[in-house]
């Protein structure tokens, strides 16, 4: 025996060490990929790429608060200067005129290759007459003031043409020469990080750098009470990770301490206590190892979920120590182990359904739980008895068991009230069936209400794009990507003229395809021809042809000059705009075309889809995609939960071989789910995906208790030790899951508030509905 024990322990230790080695090399992550689809559609892939690598995911919005307008403007300039020179940031914009001048110079210098208005007709005498007359008319307006000094060189108004297409969105307000909020009380900056949106470490470093540079700028401008407000996807990711990390350690600590305290009360022995925790530690380790080996990355939330499983996994050792105390190991294996084994199998059937989820987070939770429970049970069955030895006896808990038995006697008078309660709960759920579920993915988001309020305010003040609607084009190379963007742009121009969209952004606006540049260049007349056309066009015009020598020179220059390439954009903020919208993707190139919804009225999706019909451009409504994604998850989770439930029922039916016994086991579980969900609804919780999973867990976990009562009623007696072990096991499970209810992370919170009360209720109801003769 001693020899065998040593060998078993050694094997167990080796397995544990191997597990630790795997965990040591595992990659842990707390980013949003928990929520992103494992098998994305083409639209969802765009969504995922945008979240991970898109320009919008790299934007941070900054606001300088406090002090006087002048102080804020000075600090804004200083901060831009400092951040602009650091490698962590691709661009820092605060509305300073100098930064806009480079853009304007580029547009003016290349206006004849950039302007969509350039055509052979426009440079005929007729076209020139119309275009120049239009420019002169514009001088009558205050809007023409800017045009006046440029008129001799740009009489056809190409720069105006270009600029009018640029500012489809509203520019932020400006105070003291830098961007300011609408109320003028904050100076605003827009920062693009070098780190990708999915690089949470990079985002964290960039945000820390911003805070450091802000403090340094405040000190150097003598603006001591300056405050910084900051928001953006990067900050959300960093905060979410910090919250998950912090909560996982805090909640695990709380539940571990509470469970250790309970176990110590029960065993009154440090040796038994540590032996009792052995299956738990093994299970938790096995869970992480399994997830790491199968998924490659372990999500922080999965580990957090593990803290709940501690309460469940510890049950098996409790059963063993409490139940085997009087009757010995062999008797225990014979009488109790089959019931425990069935309980383990039902739990595993429930969790196994989650393995098939396309929601990676859910698949991980399923695998983690399955591996953890199975390992804990196996260690209890095969390792624990070897190590504990045969004389090991726990404290005599029959007193506690007898008190529980008499309590059950009283509780059983509550059968009809419980049935009534369940009927009321069903009625409540039925009447609320339209409002039970939260239909938005935001329900799972860790972003606090306060943070999203700050984000919304900053976004409004900056007029930052929310990029809800966009068009995606895939092409073999950059030139054909740009050509397709131009074709889509022509279709979108018609929608813009019809007022269906306010505008759109396209990389081809600043970097036209070479083909397009060649067409525009070819439509420019030779200097002699242009001079001739101008003479005819301007014969009766107040603007004499003789004053337009600069115009003739510039057109000649455009005819012979170089084509615009990506390098021509260097030094302008337009380069970033182009890079954000035109990027290599896989073997080819992809183009993004964000659409600006009309200022008034809703965005009409149908005309856009219609305009794009026939091409290979893909229209995407990001919010609809998100909600669709979530609804797919929810739909899938519903089916998986039902499949899990079915697996449990089939397993129980096959084992119990009695419809009456099956009904007796299932009844308390179903009632527990009903009452818990109705209770949550009454407390104002809107159900989401994880509540649904919680319901499955109530059945998977609660079945263990129901099965013990089933065994007892089959034996026509229930001994106090069994009752005591169930009471304690239930307490530890409730502690484990209940602690999750304290979490701020919606995913963990939902499971906690559903399974915590659900497990207790499952035990109580199983006891209440146990046949009366068993207790007497």
């Amino acid at each position: 025996m001693k020899h065998a024990a040593g060998r078993t322990f050694l094997l167990w230790l080796l397995a544990m060490l191997a597990g630790v080695a795997v965990v040591w090399h595992s990659h842990f992550s707390a980013d949003m990929s928990f929520f992103l689809p494992g098998r994305p559609t083409a639209e969802q892939k765009v969504l995922v790429d945008q979240l991970k690598e898109g320009a919008v995911a790299r934007l941070l919005m900054l606001a300088v608060e406090g002090g006087e307008a002048g102080q804020r403007a000075a600090l804004s300039r200083e901060l831009r200067q400092r951040l602009g020179s650091l490698p962590e940031f691709l661009s820092v914009q605060n509305g300073e005129a100098a930064s806009l001048e480079a853009d304007r110079n580029f547009l003016f210098a290349h206006r004849y290759l950039l302007s969509p208005a350039v055509s052979a007709e426009r440079f005929s005498s007729e076209g020139l007459r119309a275009a120049i007359a239009n420019s002169i008319d514009l001088l009558a307006s205050p809007a023409g003031m800017m045009l006046k000094p440029l008129l001799p060189r740009d009489p056809t108004g190409e720069l105006v043409e270009l600029l009018s297409r640029l500012n489809a969105g509203t520019q932020p307000h400006s105070v003291g020469g830098v961007w300011a909020s609408q109320d003028g009380e904050r100076a605003m900056l827009l920062v693009q990080t070098s780190a990708l949106g999915s690089d949470t470490d990079g985002q964290e470093a960039a945000i820390a750098q911003i805070r450091r540079q802000f403090a340094a700028s405040a000190a150097s401008t003598g603006f001591s009470d300056a405050r910084l407000a900051l928001s953006g996807p990067g900050l959300f990711a960093v905060k979410a990770r910090a919250t998950i990390k912090e909560e996982v350690s805090r909640l695990s600590l709380i539940s571990t301490l509470a469970i250790v305290a309970v176990l110590f009360f029960v065993y009154r022995s440090l040796r038994l206590l540590s032996l009792g925790l052995l299956p738990v530690v093994s299970g938790a380790l096995a869970g992480v190892v399994a997830v790491s080996l199968v998924h490659g990355t372990v999500f922080g939330i999965t580990v957090g979920f593990g803290s709940a499983l501690i309460g469940e996994a510890v049950d098996y050792s409790i059963y063993y120590f409490v139940q085997s105390g009087k009757i010995g190991l062999d008797q225990w294996r014979q009488r109790f182990w089959p019931t425990i084994r069935l309980g383990v199998l039902t739990s595993i059937s429930g969790f196994a359904a989650l393995l098939f989820s396309g929601f990676p987070g859910l698949a991980q939770l399923g695998l983690y739980s399955l591996a953890g429970i199975l390992t804990a049970a196996l260690v209890t069955r095969f390792v624990l008895p070897q190590l504990a030895g045969s004389q090991q006896r726990g404290r005599d808990l029959s007193g506690l068991g007898r008190r529980i038995a008499s309590a059950i006697g009283h509780l059983q008078k509550l059968r009809w009230p419980v049935v009534l309660l369940a009927v009321l709960a069903a009625g409540q759920l039925f009447s609320q069936r339209e409002h039970l579920w939260n239909p938005e993915l935001a329900a799972l988001s860790t972003v606090s209400a306060e943070d999203s309020k700050i984000d919304l305010a900053l976004r409004r003040d900056l007029g930052a794009p929310d990029s809800r609607y966009m068009i995606v084009i895939q092409a073999a190379d950059r030139e054909s990507a740009l050509q397709e963007a131009e074709q889509v742009g022509a279709r979108l121009d018609r929608l813009r003229e019809a007022g269906l969209i306010a505008g759109y952004d396209s990389p081809a606006r600043f970097l036209p395809s070479l083909a397009m540049q060649a067409v525009r260049r070819a439509s420019l007349p030779e200097a002699e021809q242009l001079r001739h056309n101008l003479q005819i066009a301007q014969a009766d015009s107040p603007l004499a042809a003789g004053k337009l020598a600069g115009f003739i020179d510039d057109v000649a220059q455009a005819r012979s000059g170089d084509a615009i390439d990506r390098a021509s954009l260097n030094g302008t903020s337009l380069a970033l705009a182009v890079d954000a919208l035109l990027m290599p993707a896989g073997a080819g190139w992809s183009v993004l075309i964000p659409l600006h919804p009309p200022a008034a009225g809703d965005f009409a999706v149908a005309p856009v889809r219609q305009a794009l019909a026939g091409g290979n451009a893909l229209f995407i409504d990001m919010k609809a995609e998100f909600d669709q994604l979530y609804n797919d998850y929810l739909h899938e989770a519903t089916w998986l939960s039902l499949a899990g439930l079915l697996a449990i029922v089939v397993l129980l039916a096959a084992t119990l071989r009695s419809a009456r016994r099956l009904a007796a086991v299932m009844l308390p579980l179903v009632l527990a789910v009903l009452i818990v969900i109705a209770g949550l609804n009454l407390l104002g919780e809107r159900l989401h995906l994880l509540h649904l999973i919680g319901m499955l867990l109530i059945v998977a976990v609660g079945s263990n208790y129901a099965l013990f009562f089933d065994r007892s009623s089959a034996e026509h007696r229930v001994d106090p030790e069994t009752l005591a072990s169930m009471g304690i096991a239930n307490l530890t499970t409730a502690i484990g899951f209940g602690t999750l209810g304290l979490s701020q992370v919606p995913v963990l919170h939902a499971v906690g508030v559903t399974v915590g009360p659900g497990a207790v209720l499952a035990l109580l109801l199983a006891a209440i509905f146990m046949p009366r003769e068993t207790t007497s």
Partner: protein, 189 residues
């Protein structure tokens, strides 16, 4: 020479009693009583680059104290709307909105006309030196920018009118170009 001096004296003699009877304060009081109305305008812009002035016409509507609408009909329709601190220009289906509080130079420019319409002497004197000539029936108010930044845009603003009605506005820009707007009130029943 003597003749000219005499003429000057005569002129001064004639205007003296009127000046004594009519000062900026009184003009402002008159203007402040004007609660609004509608007028036709013709605006001529004399631009050195062009051989002929650019002429635009349209209607203006003023509702005291802070709403001014300038609707240009020719040569191109355009709507310019000033409502409190918001200035918006609509043209060719495009709309540009500017918050004047964030643009001090533009605000000073706008205040020249708004201050005159509302008879707000304090607002005018914040940015301009005022000089009034003529009588209540035919007055000329000249605004000279006191701030260098505004002087870089406009050298002088000359506003002519009768009683509480403004009849003409002339802007002389720093580059020598000028704009003259004549205003003809439309009687409203």
């Amino acid at each position: 020479m003597i003749k000219r001096l005499f003429a000057c004296l005569l002129l001064a003699g004639c205007t003296w009693p009127a000046l004594a009877a009519f000062d900026v304060g009184q003009l402002m009081d008159d203007l402040a009583r004007h609660k609004g109305g509608k007028a036709r305008f013709v605006e001529k812009k004399y631009i050195s680059l062009l051989d002929k002035p650019v002429v635009s016409t349209g209607e203006m509507t003023y509702a005291a104290p802070d709403r001014l609408e300038k609707r240009t009909l020719t040569p191109k329709p355009e709507l310019l709307l000033l409502d409190k601190e918001m200035l918006s220009i609509e043209r060719d289906k495009q709309k540009l909105t500017i918050n004047l509080s964030s643009q001090p130079e533009a605000l000073a420019f706008i205040d020249s006309i708004r201050g005159t319409l509302t008879g707000n002497r304090a607002a005018l004197e914040k940015n301009y030196l005022l000089h009034l000539a003529g009588t209540a029936d035919k007055w000329v108010l000249t605004l000279l920018p006191s701030d260098q930044k505004i002087a870089a845009l406009v050298l002088r603003i000359t506003i002519g009118g009768s009683r509480s009605q403004i009849r003409s506005i002339e802007y002389l820009q720093a580059d020598g170009d000028r704009a003259v707007m004549s205003i003809e009130p439309i009687e409203v029943k």
